[in-house]
Assembly symmetry: C2
Homo-oligomer: 142 residues x 2
Amino acid sequence: MSKNCNFIEKLREIGLRPTKQRVKMCEVLFNREKTFHFTINDLVKMISDEMNEKISLATVYNTVHVFQKKGYLKEISINSDKSYFDTNTSAHHHFYDEDTNELIDCDESDIDKINIRKNITGKKINSVEVLVKVASDNQNQK
Amino acid sequence: MSKNCNFIEKLREIGLRPTKQRVKMCEVLFNREKTFHFTINDLVKMISDEMNEKISLATVYNTVHVFQKKGYLKEISINSDKSYFDTNTSAHHHFYDEDTNELIDCDESDIDKINIRKNITGKKINSVEVLVKVASDNQNQK
DNA sequence: ATCTACATTATAATAATTCTAAACTGTTGA
DNA sequence: TCAACAGTTTAGAATTATTATAATGTAGAT
Ligand SMILES: [Mn+2]
Ligand SMILES: [Mn+2]
Ligand SMILES: [Zn+2]
Ligand SMILES: [Zn+2]
């Protein structure tokens, strides 16, 4: 979903009613220069900061899942207590900072294309994700 | 932790009291031909099947985390509602079957060694994990 | 046998997520 | 224009994995 657009029309085009909650979520998620990573809680905070009205947590969950299903958000595979989403839906990989719990994008030049030589009968590959876990390099490990 | 051994001695060597719960967990986890993947719930079921006595869920959680910290178990990064562990602690990658929620090991020949060309100042790489998500190849997507 | 530090346990607490069912609203077509 | 309907939001409850608590039990040392 490209930025700087009429989200009302965009939502209609993909068959979603352009409610004010959805439009606001579109603005917060897609109307910006750079893509970013977020948890549901991050997103609720961002919306609350930009809106004077409240938005229900259930609506945020529902809408994030709808956007994901429609292909406008991607869920990142980290095992954490919470789910991480990405407004960058292209195939790309991540660094995960275990100190700060932050995700950082890799660009194409950072990691060679992964070539999968195994195939599982009757199954097709849906995604290939590389997660590079990093942490503080301090020698002072207590 | 190698199979077919005296787990009482092994546990002592790594500074853990060889309680009967821990010994049983060792047997279930490490006394077998092949490594495997499991969730906490899987493991509780396996233990219950092999033991007539009950084991507390808290003990299973605690002991799995101790074994992980000591390096005898590895946690796999999938985002799922539950955590997956691996008795294969060597660096290796996984297929994740989204239909059955099963993990399948890749061997070295399946995926080339990943070369990371980016580095993040002050951070060291702790792990590099590739997750290949697969699902049924049916054309009949309703 | 007794002591004590460490373990196990049942249970409660926590926290992310999903479910529910009632109230609300965008859209349609009479 | 406006009633009707289907889709949507919502607060709160339910679910579920996980962690914390605190009482009880026990392995190993003396
Ligand atoms: Mn979890
Ligand atoms: Mn989750
Ligand atoms: Zn990303
Ligand atoms: Zn594995």
